[in-house]
């Protein structure tokens, strides 16, 4: 599905269904103006060590409705701040999905993915062929393809670089 050859492999952090934005970054930390400090509290209610132990290149795996709830973009930004490039989930809360794409995260939707990996396991995500493989078990699932525009947006690094590169002119006025 990617225009360029993109295969990302990494260690996984796996979570269940309905991980809402109040879990990803609890409200009491959303007001922290230093994003690096805020990110230390990522996933704190369900995985208190995540913010300190997540390493750049790690992959976050969610269940159904990952990121449901608030529109806080901080919920996507904390993952990016920790060095996560890819999030894979069975499905997403729609605002989180937008926010992740708009800041240049690969928010991949892949039904069945939660069944093929647990925390500490690895996944190989082939964005070019639209396939996710657990190299240890050989189990694989398909990625729900993005539209070309969304793909271009993510590959540009997010909405801001996409717009700055002039790839979208102003809307025709009705």
């Amino acid at each position: 599905m990617s225009a360029t050859e993109t295969v990302i492999e990494g260690r996984c952090w796996a979570f269940g269904d309905d991980i809402d934005t109040d879990i990803i970054i609890p409200a009491q930390y959303v007001g922290i103006r230093d994003f690096a400090k805020m990110a230390l509290h990522t996933m704190e209610p369900v995985q208190p060590t995540f913010g300190r132990e997540c390493q750049p290149g790690d992959i976050v795996v969610g269940g159904k409705s990952f990121g449901v709830g608030s529109s806080r973009e901080a919920a996507a930004l904390v993952f990016k701040t920790l060095g996560v490039r890819v999030i894979v989930a069975e499905s997403y809360g729609r605002i989180f999905f937008r926010n992740a794409i708009n800041i240049g995260l690969y928010a991949v939707e892949a039904p069945g993915v939660r069944a093929i990996v647990e925390t500490g396991g690895r996944l190989r995500i082939d964005l070019t062929r639209g396939r996710i493989l657990n190299p240890a078990s050989g189990a694989a699932v398909e990625i729900v393809p993005w539209s070309p525009m969304i793909l271009a947006l993510v590959e540009a690094g997010g909405l801001v670089p996409f717009l700055k590169s002039g790839r979208r002119a102003r809307a025709p006025q009705a």
Partner: protein, 412 residues
């Protein structure tokens, strides 16, 4: 084939063409709102995109979550947002008025056929006046401030037909909790939920606001209904679905068969009849949030508290949604009722619902609330519990100290 209201609105904002579900469009926005919570991220994106404003009429700033600030970081954020509003000469900046969804409607900024985006998940509340309200993040509101548009996928519409008359002490909050119980929290994801039917036609603006607000908990991208009398702030012509529009599904509910409901922690879909919860003791009773804190909601709660006292050991907090609601409650004596009953009345705003302002829950505390979500730690400590209900259940429970069927208190 006909079009849904949402397809018509998006088509009109995407250059005036016919659009179909699944299509990606760049849509011109009538209003875009950045709030206090998301300002720090907006600020960086806005500067990087050049820092100019496409249309000052369309650009709204509002401080409603940190109203007034309760931490030093919040104070710094609100000060920056206020300075930004003044520096750009924005005509629509709100720093005292209350929750954006109610305030924008009271200010006449949103009406039928409008497309509004805001950095707030409950932006679908705008469906109550026939507008398409879509929740987005601060980076895309920054882009909309600069370029005037947003990317959106044209959503399919699910039509929810509500018929019958609401029984005594059953409210639109109960209708929403019923739908969540039956259909879950995912059925509206990427979809517009359009409410129709005789029960909707009879609803007041306040009731419509609650119903559409709860659409967010159903996953909705936006909600829609036909604007009614007293529910059209701009006077614009309503944009309605054609009779032969293609709906993805229809759901039918006879609201006359419903009873008061309560959603137990930690999902709004976890709803059962109020009688199931009679043994649950509460530490706090909260009337507030963009779901249920209009003047009408305050009046329902005051109807229970008039001449009664909040139970010993219970803290009741009343946070009106807007200055408009607060002033009318003051003029009609409701604030006095709350104060005499032993409740705390705060200034308007999002209050403690979002977990960043006064009235938070401590470890293991239990709240009965008129708010819209009861996620883990939503309004305080992760071990606290939130039960969702109508203002009537909240007020009745405040009086007894346990989750209580409002029909029992009112017949006593």
């Amino acid at each position: 084939m006909g079009q849904t209201a949402a397809e018509k609105i998006l088509g009109a904002h995407a250059g005036g063409r016919a659009v179909r579900p699944g299509e990606l469009v760049w849509a011109r926005v009538d209003r875009a709102s950045i709030d206090d919570v998301q300002w720090p991220i907006f600020k960086e994106a806005f500067a990087e995109l050049g820092g100019t404003i496409f249309d000052r009429e369309a650009a709204i700033t509002i401080a409603d979550h940190y109203l007034p600030p309760s931490t030093v970081d919040q104070a710094e954020t609100v000060a920056e947002l206020r300075a930004f509003t003044l520096a750009h000469g924005l005509p629509h900046g709100f720093f005292e008025e209350g929750v954006k969804h109610q305030v924008f409607i009271e200010a006449g900024l949103v009406g039928p056929g409008d497309l509004i985006i805001a950095t707030d998940s409950h932006t679908p509340t705008a469906g109550a006046v026939g507008a398409m309200g879509v929740a987005v993040g601060p980076t895309e509101v920054a882009a909309a401030f600069v370029f005037g548009e947003v990317w959106l996928r044209v959503p399919p519409t699910i039509r929810i037909v509500l018929t019958g008359r609401l029984p005594r002490m059953v409210f639109t909050k109960d209708v929403a909790l019923h739908l969540l119980h039956e259909e879950g929290t995912r059925f509206g994801t990427y979809r517009v939920l359009e409410f129709a039917g005789t029960a909707v036609e009879r609803m007041s603006l306040a009731e419509r606001l609650t119903l559409c607000n709860m659409g967010t908990e159903m996953g909705a991208k936006a909600t829609m209904l036909a604007p009614g009398e007293g529910a059209n702030p701009t006077g614009a012509a309503p944009v309605l679905s054609d009779p032969d529009a293609a709906f993805e599904r229809e759901i039918h509910v006879d609201v006359g068969a419903l009873e008061p409901l309560v959603a137990a922690p930690h999902q709004p879909s976890n709803a059962r009849a109020v009688s199931h919860f009679r043994d649950v003791k509460v530490d706090q009773a909260f009337i507030g949030s963009c779901a249920n804190a209009t003047f009408e909601d305050l009046a329902i709660a005051a109807g229970f508290l008039s001449g009664r006292r909040v139970a010993p050991g219970v803290q009741m907090i009343v946070t009106p949604s807007s200055v408009g609601a607060y002033r009318r409650a003051l003029a009609e004596g409701l604030i006095d009722v709350f104060l005499k009953a032993g409740a705390v009345v705060t200034n308007p705003g999002c209050g403690s619902c979002a977990g960043v302002h006064c009235g938070l829950l401590g470890p293991r505390q239990v709240r009965i609330s008129s708010q819209n979500r009861n996620f883990i730690g939503r309004s305080g400590h992760p071990s606290s519990s939130i039960y969702l209900a109508s203002p009537a259940v909240v007020a009745a429970s405040a009086i007894t100290g346990r989750i209580t069927d409002p029909r029992e208190v009112m017949s006593a």
